[in-house]
């Protein structure tokens, strides 16, 4: 009994490690066709699902272009007639590509180019907007709760903030689509779905999470330190700036990084409001795309190479968030 129990416990603990490793391996294996096809260029290629087509007769003409160094070393040559699709007929186009993909090499030589640059840039920028917006507000709430508000107010508001942190992210997305998007569009102009709206909705979503973690960090500051500073005649601002923040620094930075990681991988809050278009947002009020949203919207209608490309994207996202979270854990939030 004793040894069985220990084995079981040990097995359960290793299962966690096993799942994490399996995720990385399975994603890599599924992404392999795409990795072999596009390599690192995938990260810097801004076209998505654009077809490169070659008429057999056109090969000779444009062979010189190939020599002067285009990305691909196969017999396909860039055609000027690439068409950029817009979001409305994206689904249909994608299906067309899939069939093209399957019949590739038979009659019409074509190759579909996928690149992750648009979603990667969209992910990073929406997360950055979210951070710029949420850090001051979350810090304001944390300071307000722990240093300014009287106890009778701080407690219920604190509980409310923690409860709000548990609201499913899809709610934030829906609210963003129907209320916040039009609100922002009426102020800044532009579309009701855009990079800016996505970033702000993300920001609002992480505020309760970040505020609750930062408040916990701030409340670890010993009263003795604060009282000593007050006794020296320091004002509240000086106490917060020179005593509280330096003491709770690693906890606060850790909470910011964790929120960053959460915003980075967030799907549902963004899916409603970013637009899902494969183009860079020229202005912040333009729609664009982010990695989780691409994953959420395109999985059902993908197969073969286009599916493998999605796994490649998932792998990139996994690596990005893994790094962010690992940094937070190993440098800032070491437990004791």
């Amino acid at each position: 009994m004793e040894s069985i129990f220990k084995k079981l416990a040990q097995f359960s603990a290793s299962l966690v490690f096993f799942i994490l490793a399996a995720t990385a391996i399975v994603l890599y294996l599924s992404a392999k066709p795409a990795i072999e096809e596009f390599g690192v260029h995938f990260l810097f290629e801004s076209r998505w699902g654009v077809e490169e087509k070659v008429e057999p007769s056109a090969i000779e003409q444009s062979k010189q272009e190939l020599v002067t160094g285009s990305i691909d070393d196969e017999d396909f040559i860039t055609d000027d007639e690439d068409f950029v699709m817009d979001d409305e007929d994206f689904v249909m186009d994608d299906e067309d590509f899939v069939t093209d993909d399957d019949t590739e090499g038979n009659s019409n030589k074509s190759k579909v180019i996928y690149g992750a640059l648009v979603p990667i840039v969209g992910t990073i920028f929406s997360t950055l907007i979210a951070m710029l917006f949420s850090i001051p507000i979350a810090m304001g709430i944390a300071v307000f709760l722990s240093e300014i508000a009287p106890g009778s107010l701080a407690k219920p508001v604190g509980v409310a903030i923690e409860l709000l942190a548990s609201i499913p992210s899809i709610i934030y997305g829906m609210w963003g689509l129907f209320y916040f998007g039009p609100f922002i569009a009426s102020i800044f102009g532009g579309n009701t779905v855009s990079l800016l709206v996505a970033g702000l909705v993300l920001g609002i979503m992480v505020i309760p999470f970040m505020a609750a973690l930062s408040r916990d960090a701030i409340s670890t500051v010993p009263d003795l330190l604060k009282e000593s500073a007050y006794a020296m005649g320091a004002t509240k601002l000086e106490v917060i700036k020179d005593v509280v923040f330096p003491y709770a620094k690693s906890g606060i930075i850790g909470s910011i990084i964790l929120s960053f990681g959460r915003a980075l991988g967030e799907t549902m809050a963004v899916a409603f409001v970013i637009g899902g278009v494969y183009q860079f947002a020229g202005k912040v009020t333009d729609p664009t795309n982010s990695i989780p949203v691409v994953l959420a919207n395109s999985f059902a209608e993908s197969s073969g190479l286009s599916l493998s490309v999605l796994f490649y994207l998932a792998l990139i996202l996994f690596a990005m968030s893994f790094i962010v979270i690992a940094v937070a854990k190993f440098y800032f939030l070491r437990r004791k």
Binding site: V16, I170, I204, T235
Partner: protein, 269 residues
């Protein structure tokens, strides 16, 4: 001057707090006003195909429930291992960190993983795939809370158990876990509340069905995925149903959270 800047700072801090709370209150207000408007008996007695939410609510609860039932023993055992058998070695510490990393991994990536190992081989979406995705999301949370709760158990209790000749298994199960029971239970409730609201990992693992189903081997009805689908439909009636679903989902999550909070408060007293 110092005092003036101090005042300014306090006002500024309070204002930012108010701005944040304003947005959060706005969300809750929309949710309630939109959601309550759509509540009727039909919502609970009809399936999605007939304009109700019965099948998707039951489906969501069933998937989360099964995931919880599988997740509880695995999570608790892993937590016990980390705390009781790990002896704070480097490996244990490493596993603890990995579990934390997994806890914050993007849920959509978990979805792609399950899609690759379940949906691709079987060829269709299924309730079990959804259960697996939720299970993977849930286990690290239970591990973390169990680990933390067991850490609070005084070492004297363990020593006392050992001293009367009880085996490590007995000490762990009958003394340590029993002592930490309330805390672990709260952790499980919170973990359940967390996965019940998950959408991203379910979109292409469980899919969502409009019909009544309790067969986990087929495409399964899911409340969150249905909300996502309903909200993007052009039909106002469908959108209204989506809001009602969103309201029910949020009330459910908040309610479970409140129970968990109440339980852990009671224990402390």
């Amino acid at each position: 001057m110092r005092l003036f800047i101090n005042k300014l700072f306090l006002v500024f801090s309070t204002i930012t707090a108010l701005i944040g709370l304003f947005f959060l209150a706005w969300i809750l207000y929309t949710l309630c006003s939109k959601g309550i408007a759509g509540i009727s008996v039909d919502v609970f007695t009809k399936d999605l195909i007939d304009g109700g939410l019965r099948n998707v609510i039951v489906g969501q609860l069933m998937m989360s429930g099964v995931a919880t039932v599988i997740g509880i023993p695995v999570g608790i055992l892993a937590g016990i291992y980390l705390q009781e058998y790990g002896q704070n070695s480097k490996t244990t510490e490493f596993m603890r960190d990995l579990s934390d990393v997994m806890m914050s991994a993007p849920s959509i990536v978990v979805g792609t993983f399950v899609y690759a190992i379940v949906v691709v081989p079987t060829g269709h979406t299924s309730g079990w795939a959804g259960v697996l995705a939720l299970f993977i999301l849930m286990v690290p949370i239970i591990v973390r809370t169990t680990d933390d709760m067991l850490n609070l158990v005084p070492v004297e209790l363990r020593e006392a158990g050992m001293a009367i000749g009880a085996s490590k298994y007995h000490v762990t199960m009958n003394i340590v876990v029993r002592y930490a029971k309330a805390g672990i239970l709260t952790g499980i409730l919170l973990a359940f509340a967390r996965v019940v609201g998950e959408t991203a990992p379910l979109i292409y693992t469980s899919g969502s069905s409009q019909f009544w189903s309790t067969d986990l081997t087929g495409t399964f009805p899911s409340l969150t995925v249905s909300i996502y689908n309903l909200a993007t439909m052009p039909d106002d009636k469908m959108v209204q149903l989506g809001w009602t679903g969103a309201f029910l989902l949020t009330s459910m999550v908040l309610f479970i959270n409140l129970i968990g909070r109440y339980a852990s408060n009671k224990k402390r007293r």
